[in-house]
Symmetry: C2
Subunit: 234 residues, 2 copies
DNA sequence: TGTACATCAGTGAACGCGCGTTCACTGATGTAC
DNA sequence: TGTACATCAGTGAACGCGCGTTCACTGATGTAC
């Protein structure tokens, strides 16, 4: 029954956004009276919290399944895209505009950590030398030409070398600020890759789903593909 | 007087998000009665539309001023960041979660075009060969090593070569789908750079402002800086 | 098999709220002759 | 200088709405003896 309530809630969010979620409307839609829902959710906030949690979990689940099937970083990127396109408002509920007051329930943090762990695994697998070299990579390893990843698949199209080369200033920062990695033994370059995976892809997705590319005349999916290569390319 | 209404509206949006905007509350805050505002705005929607337009315009203005002062792509990136951090809810009003029903007023399109024109200018200036080579660059120009941008400033830190090398599959697509550039004679690599500037930087900003990096323990500004280099690096 | 009781999903009325919006109006200010 | 009028910012009452939430309750279902 709770599941049915949530299903109607999603329907409503899909139609008019999360801010328009109304308990009464859901009840009416289910052929129930308003107060009936209070048997299943303490109130509107608890419903929303449950939806946020479910949304998070569905992404984590999709990631976990693909990773267990041996997916690499590039495949994870397409899992993310499919998940986002399948229900834009669900994506926005997790990654969209925050309401100044509201804060996510604490257990979403652990789900986010799970997602991050999967992502870090995939990032660590991209580079041959995935062992953390004690956090002090030789700085100034030279520009892209020195990227050891020249062994990348040659047919993948020249979308630029990997965006993450060893020794950047940001990697030096990450080497000393990695609590978010939850003890994962990834090299700084993998840490950066994970963050950049996240920001670049959600950059495309957020703008695309928000309709910012509408009428511009190019195919957002191709932009996404280019960014996937920029992030997953060895 | 209209300006005063809008000022209070922003205050309210800053405090509780755009969905909580209420005409009555603004009126009360100004010491007026509710209906008084109808002399200045036809209704709530018109107010929001005016705010969206103003937000857009303020970004366009900031871009234009910097560009006229001779700013390069990297400096534009920091203009964007300052603009976003100065008022996150203003950023979200433009680039955040869309309400399924609402659509931006038509004249924001032209403002967006103005922003894009400035951006394209800056992107075209990054690369020496900024003339459009008839849209058919030699495909498969090879991986990053072939990037002509090895002339980039050497001290900028090895954050990877430019993300945009000539001849990517996406550039080939853009060469044939460029109405959004409004006739700007930028090379496909510059077109890609402009889009990537936009998505990568707003990727970091959206997640940062949404609080997704809270408690992770690294400095989002350094991530932003790394992405700026990835986008602006020759 | 029958009776007494507990459980529990759902109802209907009610409260109080703030919202957007309309309408007829007051009262001050400016303008024309 | 004085009178008649137009303009216009703002008011107060009212309408109708849907919301979240509470409360005491009904009525069906299951359970224990």
């Amino acid at each position: 029954v709770q599941e049915e309530v949530k299903a109607h809630a999603w329907e409503q969010i899909r139609a008019a956004g999360a801010s328009a979620l109304s308990l009464s409307a859901i009840a009416k839609q289910m052929g129930l009276s308003g107060p009936a829902l209070y048997r299943y959710f303490a109130g509107r906030d608890e419903l929303i919290t449950a939806l946020v949690r479910d949304a998070y979990r569905s992404l984590a689940e999709a990631f976990r399944l693909q990773a267990e099937a041996g997916a690499d970083l590039e495949e994870l990127a397409w899992v993310l895209r499919r998940w986002a396109l399948a229900d834009p408002q669900r994506y926005f509920l997790v990654y969209g505009t925050p309401v100044p007051g509201y804060e996510a329930p604490p257990d979403t943090t652990s789900i986010a950590a799970e997602i991050m762990a999967v992502l870090l695994d995939a990032c660590a697998a991209v580079e041959p030398a995935s062992v953390d070299p004690a956090g002090d990579e030789p700085a100034g390893a030279g520009p892209a030409g020195a990227d050891p990843a020249s062994a990348e698949p040659a047919g993948a199209g020249p979308a630029g070398g990997g965006p993450v080369v060893a020794g950047s200033a940001f990697q030096a920062h990450l080497a000393g600020h990695r609590p978010w990695a939850g003890g994962h033994p990834a090299a700084p370059s993998a840490l950066e890759r994970a963050l950049v995976f996240w920001t670049r892809l959600s950059g495309v997705l957020s703008l695309e789903l928000a309709g910012q590319f509408a009428g511009m005349g190019f195919d957002p999916e191709q932009l996404y593909a280019a960014e996937v290569r920029s992030v997953a390319g060895g």
